[in-house]
């Protein structure tokens, strides 16, 4: 009788306790500003550090490869989308603009890879911010 209702730890439901309501706002905002921080503030240390390292290294590699840093613009649709991707990197993009790093135009062939690295780093950070939000509302452990 007692054995029939016993569950092993592997079968136990995963606890998805939602954090405080304010965390559902703070986590994605912090995650956008500092890649990985949305997970770190919710004590997901390993995930947060891996995300921080991946996105930061990707963004820095993009800069070192002389990738193009898009600025706010209302011109060509690809330029607008490039800016949206870049701005996803949050604080990294802000620091880059303030310091005047990056290039406005592609100088050599492989620099196009750098442009893609910069854009994808920002887009990945958007995904991470959404993931931090899902953790905050208890949708994901």
């Amino acid at each position: 009788m007692a054995n029939s209702s016993k569950t092993t730890p592997a079968e136990a439901p995963v606890a998805t306790v939602p954090a405080s309501p304010s965390m559902s706002v703070i986590a994605p905002a912090v995650a956008w500003l500092i890649p990985g921080a949305g997970h770190l503030v919710q004590k997901r240390w390993i995930r947060g550090l891996l995300i921080m390292a991946s996105i930061t290294i990707m963004f820095v590699l993009g800069l070192l490869m002389q990738g193009r840093v898009y600025q706010p613009n209302g011109g060509d649709i690809l330029d607008i989308l490039g800016f949206v991707g870049d701005v996803g990197a949050g604080g990294l993009y802000i620091v880059t603009r303030v310091q005047g790093w990056g290039h406005g135009a592609i100088a050599h062939a492989t620099a196009d890879y750098g442009t893609k690295f910069l854009i994808v780093a920002g887009l990945l950070n958007f995904i991470c911010a959404a993931d931090a939000y899902h953790i905050a509302i208890g949708k994901k452990p």
Partner: protein, 60 residues
């Protein structure tokens, strides 16, 4: 300081970082995250080789 990577190195680095983020964000448990990250990495690198061979065939 300027970094000029080869096409393959750039593609592999891209694959590593994108796979890490995909693994963490698209799965819930640690085991599934590692498996999915490796799966994405294999698809990325496999896609690189496939695209390389397709371009070689088109050229010849």
């Amino acid at each position: 300081m300027t970094l000029e990577l080869s096409h393959f190195t750039a593609a592999v680095l891209f694959s590593v970082f994108a796979s890490v983020v995909f693994g963490i964000t698209q799965r819930s448990t640690s085991r599934d995250q590692i498996r999915y990250g490796l799966y994405c990495f294999a698809l990325f690198v496999g896609g690189v080789f496939l695209a390389g061979w397709v371009m070689w065939i088109l050229r010849h």
